[in-house]
């Protein structure tokens, strides 16, 4: 693993950048193997066990732009670039054209570095990195790991800087890990939330949409619950004395708690219970209706099967 950076710069990453990168990757992946042909691919290659042994090792590239104020580097946006396979460098003319366009709209932003997808940085990336060094003396390299790992809790995004280290007597630039934080603007938060809750495009029925909506709320509440539990455990350990008291952290926790809505009042409990009971009554009513219709079916069938005197009605015996 690359050692951590010692430049002292703080990096702030906006979620828009991550969304852009992942969207870029997904689009290219779907274009390379559209779902219809992947079925036929599966039939044609029965030897390959799973359908995911397609060119996994393709990568997408692009540039990140932002602003640097003092020691803080804030990465706001990104755009895509094509990698020229012959020279193994990014398309320079396109980059400059895009940079001009962005400069008109966001005069404060300039190119901070580049991004790519993959699991780890490798040697060839250094060439691209060096090529960018004439635009920005110390570019950043944002790497997104597209492999989905459910066990992993953190974001699969790493930011690398380049530093000159003396290796075998020659000063060489190598990639070093830099820590970063996520920074959002209100508008960004809304749009990210919207993207996260995209429903299936065929609409589905009202039932599936409701189920999807409720599942989303359920997972959000579950995550909130687990995070609060972590905090609670931490505070408990601090109280017992296992962990040294950290006053700044305590202040942060206190401010967080004060910003949560007060949900312990008497009125809240009453209203909550009343609404809960109403919902229970509605589901009870639905169950009773269900039962009644089932009972009706059973009785109809029973009467048809075991009716002693069949009803002739107006039916004549001859056809």
């Amino acid at each position: 693993m690359a050692p951590s950076s010692s430049s002292g710069l703080t990096f702030k990453l906006h979620p828009l950048v991550m969304l852009n990168i992942s969207d870029h990757f997904t689009r290219v992946k779907t274009q390379l193997n559209p779902p219809s042909s992947s079925c036929s691919n599966g039939n044609n290659n029965p030897s390959t066990g799973d359908a995911t042994t397609l060119p996994q090792d393709f990568r997408v590239y692009g540039c990140v732009i932002g602003a640097q104020k003092g020691r803080t580097v804030e990465i706001f946006n990104s755009f895509e670039l094509l990698l020229d396979p012959t020279t193994d460098t990014l398309d320079r003319s396109f980059l400059e054209k895009k940079q001009e366009l962005y400069q008109k709209v966001f005069p404060n932003f300039y190119i901070l570095g580049w991004y790519s997808t993959g699991s780890d940085a490798n040697e060839s990336d250094m060439n691209i990195h060096k090529a960018l060094m004439d635009i920005n003396e110390s570019p950043v390299y944002v790497l997104l790991n597209p492999a989905i790992n459910h066990a992993q809790k953190d974001l699969p995004v790493t930011i690398y800087e380049s530093e000159f280290h003396v290796i075998d007597g020659i000063p060489q630039p190598i990639f070093v890990n830099a820590s970063y934080t996520i920074e959002t603007v209100e508008a960004e938060r809304i749009s990210v939330d919207h993207v996260a809750h995209l429903k299936p495009s065929d609409g589905g029925s009202a039932a599936t949409q409701l189920a999807a909506h409720l599942t989303g709320i359920h997972s959000a509440i579950k995550m909130l619950n687990s995070r609060i539990r972590v905090l609670h455990q931490y505070l408990g350990a601090m109280q017992k004395g296992d962990i040294p008291c950290d006053n700044s952290l305590l202040r942060q926790v206190a401010s967080l708690l004060r910003s949560l809505p007060a949900a312990q009042s008497e009125k809240f409990n009453e209203d909550f219970l009343m609404e809960y009971n109403d919902k229970l009554l509605m589901s009870y009513l639905a169950m009773i209706t269900n039962c009644t219709s089932n009972m009706n079916e059973v009785v109809d069938k029973f009467n048809t099967a075991y009716e002693r005197n069949s009803r002739r009605g107006g039916r004549t015996p001859f056809m």
Binding site: E270, L273, M274, Y276, N277, L280, L281, S283, Y284, M287, I288, N290, C291, N294, M295, E297, V298, K301, F302, T304, A305, Y306, E307, S310, R315, M319
Partner: protein, 426 residues
Amino acid sequence: MSSTENLITSIQGLSASSGDLSALHRILKGAEETLRADSDLQLSTLDQLDPSKHSLGYLYLLDVLTCGGPMSKEKASEVVLLIARFITSCDAEQIRLASDKFVSLCKGFKDRVLELEDPLRGVAPLLSAVRKVQVSTKRLTALHPDCLQLCLQAKCYKAGFSILSDDILEVDQPRDFYLYCYYGGMICIGQKKFQKALELLYNVVTAPMHSVNAIALEAYKKYVLVTLIHSGQFSVSLPKCASTAAQRHLKTWSIPYTEVGNCYNEGKISELQAVVVAHSSDFEKDNNLGLVKQAVSSLYKRNILRLTQKYLTLSLQDIANMVQLANAKEAEMHVLQMIQDGQIHALINQKDGMVRFLEDPEQYKTSEMIEVMDSVIQRTIMLSKNLIAMDESLSCDPLYLGKVGRERQRYDFGEDFDTVPQKFSM
């Protein structure tokens, strides 16, 4: 003697796995005759076997030993003890292989216990016997009514009530069902759970039957009285789903009860008491006198309940006058009792003797209500599942399919799709 010894060794040897057990069962069935003929067979030979491991063999030997005629009191109590111990420790799997033998053994046990006039000894073993013979909780066995009968005789109603809480869906013999519902109704009356008693007695009265039987008649009499106590209304006609035989004949055999019911509808206490006194010999013959007295006292309650629908406030003296009670003190006692039972909601102002009737204060927004609703919803879900299973089994019934096929053929002559065969050759 040697054949018995052989049998015992084979029992001991073959009681391990299910394959061995079926072989053992065949041997036992074959050897039953020789066992009966063997006069040297004693109760002491049973000591060689362990009831929990060798249940099947033990069952056969016990049956042969105890099915004899009348026996002396000591022998009877010894036998009873032995059977009780066997029932509590036997293995349910082995018993189910020979369930009718087990049932006849338990019936014999019950008779002996009744002869000894000590029904309490038989309650616990029969309870566990019922649980062991039952294949699933939805099935009624022949032991259910016997167990309930013992509970009634021993007056331990709570034990009997625990059996009644299962929902019965499958019945082998109709007579078991009638007896079960009748005894169950009586136990619920003893526990003062009139709602459940009403359900059970209703089941007996509306059960399909070709001709009126004695159980249904007794059940109808109690049913009339319990309706009076519980819901305060009486209708002469039976519910529509009762069989035609019941509808025609039940009423002619229970005339005193219908008179009581009609009088109750009028609402006059004195007339009701006169009718009760007139027919008291009939009631005593049927052992229903206590129930009739409860019905009379419930008339007061019904009248007070009707008052709550007409008046908002009433003085105690007025209540006493309208309900024909002796004085205001008795009226206050009645009203207090009803408030405690939860039948009405009222406030008694003792200073000026006024009673103010209130609405039901239940707002359905407490957490206890949540538990009640949750359990009710669960029960409905179970019921729905059972109904769907019944529906499926009915759809595969050949009688049903034959009738449906016949009707369809009549409807679409002219179109030859889907000709369902009229008869299924099975």
